[in-house]
Symmetry: D2
Subunit: 336 residues, 4 copies
């Protein structure tokens, strides 16, 4: 059994890590931190863990662990990671701190200095379907953003194939759990419960993340207008990505590009209709693509807390620790 710890165990991604890991066959959670809940039983705070996890929240993370999940806000993670790595503890950061390799880009979009530039260079972007080998050998993985995961999975095949023009419009819809557990005006039920709310139009931090990754395929950055929308569901993201083709292609040709890209992948399914319901509560993603004339729309559907956060982090952990990539992640989507 490998031992892991979770820094920031009160929030949604911390709780979701514990929910999945508590039935993982090869993992023991030995330490979870929380400032506000120090000393409380984890299962008293997260009552769904009653009978599954019998530890208390601590202030500091144990050092007797093989790997630490850092589930803290942006700006906090980069203060935790260096000493963990020095102690020989592998790290998976679920915040944005290590996602953007270019420090200037980070500082521009996140609005504060990056204090761990050294490790930033070595961090691997934790999307296993694209960067599996790098993740296996890494000590520090930057877990992708939820929107970025859905969007990149939907866009990568077409960008990789080089058949689309550079302008991409991404209209992404997310359930409210993506905003975390702290109440805000935008996630107040009577504000968002019967509305569709676009926000951070053209200014969302997942924009440079998407561009950076797609850029790896093309050598030049596609020009992405990323528009996130809050929708009144709890879990799930549907990312709708609009392209124009350089040359006419048949729908079958475009679909074949997608089938080929994800052939053999356990968690990414190319379907006729990507559906949130089919993947919710699981680490699966569904991708579908429609071609109409010279235009293409590609859809990516995930559970933002699983494939969009904690599940993908565990998938990376499995790779980093030499375990079966799908261990602990064998649940299918709920369907209903």
């Amino acid at each position: 059994m490998k031992k892991v710890g979770i820094i920031g165990g009160t929030g949604y991604t911390g709780g979701e890590l514990a929910r999945i890991l508590c039935t993982h066959p090869d993992i023991e959670i030995v330490s979870m931190t929380s400032r506000q809940n120090t000393g409380k039983k984890v299962s008293d705070v997260h009552s769904y863990l009653d009978g599954y996890l019998d530890i208390e929240f601590s202030e500091k993370i144990s050092r007797e662990i093989d790997l630490a999940f850092v589930a803290t806000p942006h700006g906090v993670a980069m203060k935790e990671v260096p000493s963990l790595l020095e102690s020989g503890i592998k790290c998976i950061d679920l915040s944005g701190d290590y996602r953007l390799h270019d420090v200037k880009t980070y500082e521009l979009w996140y609005g504060h200095e990056h204090t761990d530039v050294e490790n930033l260079q070595d961090a691997v972007y934790g999307l296993p379907e694209l960067f599996r080998d790098e993740i296996k050998g890494s000590d520090l993985v930057a877990n992708p953003g939820c929107y970025a995961t859905a969007t990149i999975l939907a866009c990568a095949p077409l960008v990789n194939a080089g058949v689309a023009n550079d302008d991409i419009f991404v209209d992404a819809k997310s359930g409210t759990s993506g905003a975390g557990m702290v109440p805000t005006v935008r996630t107040h039920h009577s504000y968002c419960g019967e509305s569709i709310i676009p926000y951070s139009v053209g200014t969302h931090r997942h924009t440079p993340e998407i561009e950076m990754v797609l850029n790896k395929f093309t050598g030049k950055s596609p020009d992405v207008l990323f528009v996130p929308n809050l929708v009144p569901i709890v879990r799930g993201i549907l990312s709708s990505c609009y392209f124009t083709l350089k040359e006419p292609m048949s729908p079958e040709e475009v679909t074949a590009i997608y089938k080929k890209q994800y052939d053999g992948e356990r968690f990414v399914h190319v379907t006729s209709d990507a559906s949130i319901s089919s993947v919710v509560a699981s680490n699966h993603a569904q991708v579908s693509v429609s071609t109409i004339g010279n235009k293409v729309i590609a859809f990516g559907a995930i559970d933002n807390l699983v494939k969009g956060a904690s599940g993908q982090a565990i998938q990376c952990m499995n790779l980093m620790l030499g375990l079966n990539e799908t261990a602990g992640l064998n649940a299918p989507g709920l369907g209903v």
Copy 2:
């Protein structure tokens, strides 16, 4: 045209007062206060009022008004009301400050001292279907609570008829707008969006309010267990009230009691199936009643922000100012 002001114009009930009053044929809103939005155009804060109301939020309420709506939190209203009354301005308080005539009961349930005991004695409970004449002659009306309105309308006929036993169970379901506009854990969408959340079981402040009013019919207090539930809708309350009968009665006899009680009322409809959808966005209430053996369930359905708050306050205002009781309130429910 009568002139009115709204103290506390940023919140939901303040905004809802303005929404209804801005098309009222006999009323001009001349003043709205807001601490946080002082100096801003009201229609910049409430964009649905663009083209309807061309005033700015002020810090203090104008004294050039016939009537003031006090839409502030509990404890604040009783600091505003005395000087308004002294200035000859009629008041309708939408908070709980003047609802409970017994000062000890107030202080027990609200947890602080009542600083305006004198006016408390004279305040009239603003449920026109039960206390129309008192409201007409009053300078200070305590507008009923939202849950209390739905529950009292459903219970009053049976209690008034004296045919039910004293024990009443009330299982009330409310949309989230009843909790106001300030974000909280309970109204955070990802917390409440796919759940039904009972809260304040047996301790909700509308309990003594319901008991006080029902007591007026019986001379002795019924024993109400009031259980509110937050449900993931924005507007609407359904209050389900459970009784046992003293003596067997037919369903027709029980229904007749309800029909008689509300005969001729414009806003209260005795139907076969009380429905939130049929009254939402209107000042109407629907009441229905089912009798099964010795048990009775009575349902009351309202829009919590209209008949449960601002609409009812305007209905009271109409009575206090000698206007047509239904003026400005002629919208039917949405239905869908």
Copy 3:
């Protein structure tokens, strides 16, 4: 008082017409038809009309009317309209039967023959903000589709100004009431309640309608990929329209185009954030526009049953009957 009738009074748009018209100062509803509810009181079927409308559903429409609303499915309306027009009754058709002036386009997208080609030529597209004068003089108005209304209002200024390229991507989100009152798999709550469901990708019938109208501004058809999405709200459409600019423009220049287009319009508001909540239950629309580099996103928000259907039809009726354009439509949006 003008007299009107509603053909197809059971469905959502028929009920919504009655809901709005029953408090219209200049209109009397004298006749409503329904096959399934013939002989029943309208207010027994639509209980929100109790106290507002005291007529029964009939099988045939009265001919003693000035204007008929035809709220029947596609294909039925064109069988009703000719004889009404011959009887000197003005008609507003809420179906798609008279929207597409080109009969071949109609037959291609609707899949059946058009049996009233003669009147099709004369029908006016009922979007008052664009075709006010034509509507005033018309006997037959084709009321726009809900998605088409939101989309055209968002796109028209930019297309009209000639500053955008021809490729337009429209990602539209609609509440479920847009699908009508007949239960289907897609609108089954447990299917759609926690999901975002794109459908009819590139094949939705509002596509040619949008292209036809935008074409009037440019003389050549823009190339629209229209993707509708079902979202789990009841009322409301947000249409998100993506453009690239021909030449760089500042955000202020683009916004100015929108402000100019809708200057003086009572029902269309150019705001910073188009919001469904602010227009729901009203005939208002909000439009907002963001410019990021060479890309523009324009948003249009409406209540699909009001500005997207019955409210807009009443706005047209007012124009056709020489009444005040805003009569009966004075309700602001709910806001919450």
Copy 4:
């Protein structure tokens, strides 16, 4: 590996059985029937099973199985069960056909003749927390109704202890998936999405089921008024059960009764606040109880498709086949 079949594999409970069983360590699904989908791949119909289950729907169930789940409508199951039992195949019926031991009661509430009275006598009510030993030895288990499960779990301790009066009011709230996959008016999103809909007041078929089971503890039937409500969530039931006590008791004494009843149970948790969110997507139930004066309210929360249907059926299967009772059911609730 034990082999099982599912009769009626298209519907929600059939799909949910497959979802859970496809990762069960000791079970192989060898046969699923569907009239409408005969010949199709199961994972083409239930796309969340892609990669998990590689069989096709058949018209007839295989006889090479140890146990059959009968997930057909009421009235159909009793036509399937006799021959299965004769073939030596154990059966778990998820419909209501074998729940009510008294044939007259069955025919009264279900409105048709019972054609398998013989097996009806021997069927065991499949609520393991109350009838574990009987289930272990049974060849035919009647899987409890979803509402009945939540309600009985909440009521049994108090009824069993004999401290409450006979009159019980049950106000139960269910997500829409409990109504199955066939679209209806009541589950049409625009009808139910912003409403709370009580239905079958005093006439729901789970009423006699609840009374029958509670009766086993008391020797006399409690008098239950059962009122189900449809709420706009997809999964989950909260059953709120109202009692009066025979003699005053402290909250601690009442809670102790509950703690004692469910001591050692893996799937039933006595908590301070029973929460749908904490059990959703799992076989867990949470029960909480509040005592206010002489009144008690007990809450039961479950996922209606898991502990309220397919999960509980699998729990029964484990007992009937001599497997670990919790096998395949180790997922905690989602929490969010």
